[in-house]
């Protein structure tokens, strides 16, 4: 009896892995097919702009708020740590480096997943349930080119821009807390910051933002497109999209940081 229980667990594990690999392959193929329409007529520029508005501009407020608080808390925590070594002057460098290399791209990606990614999945899932995707196909409009592609491109364009805003707001907020509240010397703060940050750090941040943007767009559109066409199916797909996209961002963050940056 215990033997068969073990066998069943093994079977479930195997099935889970096979399904996971299958979904990854399916998603990759779907994304590539959608991206294949980038330079093909009909040109989707107008819909990319519409999606940039919905996803990018729509996420701006939350990015500013999270950026500000991230910078502020980093300054507080960093001051506490650095003060123990008498190196408060390094606060600017610490705050800016953490934000530019790591927290800007990752937290920015999380905010976009929560604000825009879940909306993408839910919207496409609902279009599947209500047969709007089929209606598009019957009207000779390819949903991959019309619905999926603009959203993937929009997240890819929007995330680096949002991360840039996040970085600047975070650094400014860190400066306010560090210099005005905690009394770190303003000159030292700025001087250390400009001295310690190189183009290499900045480029790493941009690469991360671009890759994360692509991941979010690809995963969230895929989850919506392949959602089970029921209301529960869409709800489940939305939850799964947020979880899978967040985990993928963290895994990819580690890979990018360790291999390339």
């Amino acid at each position: 009896m215990t033997g068969s229980g073990l066998v069943r667990i093994l079977g479930a594990l195997g099935r889970f892995c096979i399904q996971g690999v299958h979904a990854m392959g399916d998603g990759a193929v779907l994304t590539m097919r959608a991206l294949g329409h980038t330079l093909r007529r009909p040109w989707q520029g107008r819909h990319v702009v519409l999606q940039l508005h919905a996803l990018g501009v729509g996420s701006l407020a939350i990015i500013v708020v999270t950026g500000a608080f991230t910078g502020m808390v980093l300054a507080l925590q960093g001051y506490y740590t650095l003060a123990k070594f008498g190196s408060e002057s390094l606060l600017g460098a610490g705050v800016a480096l953490s934000i530019i290399r790591e927290l800007g791209p990752v937290l920015g990606a999380f905010m976009v997943i929560g604000r825009a990614g879940s909306a993408i999945t839910a919207e496409i899932g609902i279009m599947r349930v209500t047969e709007q995707l089929d209606a598009l196909r019957m009207m000779a409009v390819n949903p991959l080119a019309r619905i999926l592609l603009p959203r993937i491109l929009a997240t890819m364009i929007a995330l680096p821009l949002l991360v840039a805003v996040f970085d600047v707001v975070g650094i400014a907020a860190g400066y306010l807390v560090g210099v005005d509240l905690l009394g770190v010397n303003a000159g030292a703060y700025v001087a250390e910051m400009t001295a310690k940050i190189s183009n290499h750090d900045l480029n790493g941040g941009w690469v991360k933002a671009l890759v994360f943007g692509f991941l979010i767009g690809a995963i969230c559109t895929f989850m919506g497109y392949r959602a089970e066409p029921t209301t529960e199916g869409v709800a489940r797909a939305t939850t799964r999209a947020v979880v899978v996209a967040s985990v993928s961002v963290l895994v990819m963050d580690y890979i990018l940081t360790s291999f390339f940056l």
Partner: protein
């Protein structure tokens, strides 16, 4: 169609803000060359540069007046540092460069002590007088041995 034009404007604004933020960081923090390659260059040779590296500060009287552009080894196994000094900062010919540490375990930087002569160094000149990094282990061992004698 009116509303689409408004959306276009908003999106344009959004892209502009993002690019402005990115540009500000690149210009302010990223040491983008070309535009910002101002100042003049001085050379200094040290016996031991103690871990000063590209980007380290150059300070005079505790004020940052430039940064280290390049560090390399010359034929006599000495360290050559190229220092980029801000325009408007004049360094006399008998000035003195030393490798110092901020705090006990802080960053290494190059301190320049102003001399007394009235003639000043120009682009490409060398600071003749240098003092190498203080090595704590050397100091400690020196102290111990001198105590024994």
């Amino acid at each position: 169609m009116q509303s689409y034009q408004r959306i276009e404007i908003v999106v344009g604004l959004f892209v502009l803000i993002g690019l402005a933020c990115a540009g500000w960081m690149a210009a302010r923090l990223g040491q983008v060359g070309g535009l910002g390659a101002s100042g003049y260059e001085l050379k200094a040779v040290f016996d031991d540069i103690g871990g000063v590296r590209v980007g380290s500060d150059v300070m005079m009287a505790g004020v940052v007046i430039g940064r280290v552009d390049d560090v390399r080894l010359d034929e006599d196994s000495k360290a050559i540092a190229l220092l980029r000094i801000d325009d408007g900062v004049r360094i006399s010919e008998d000035a003195f460069a030393s490798v110092r540490t901020k705090g006990i375990i802080g960053d290494r930087y190059i301190r320049i002590t102003q001399g007394v002569e009235d003639s000043y160094l120009a682009d490409g000149d060398e600071i003749e007088e240098t003092e190498s990094a203080l090595n704590i282990e050397d100091l400690v061992s020196k102290y111990i041995f001198s105590g024994k004698e």
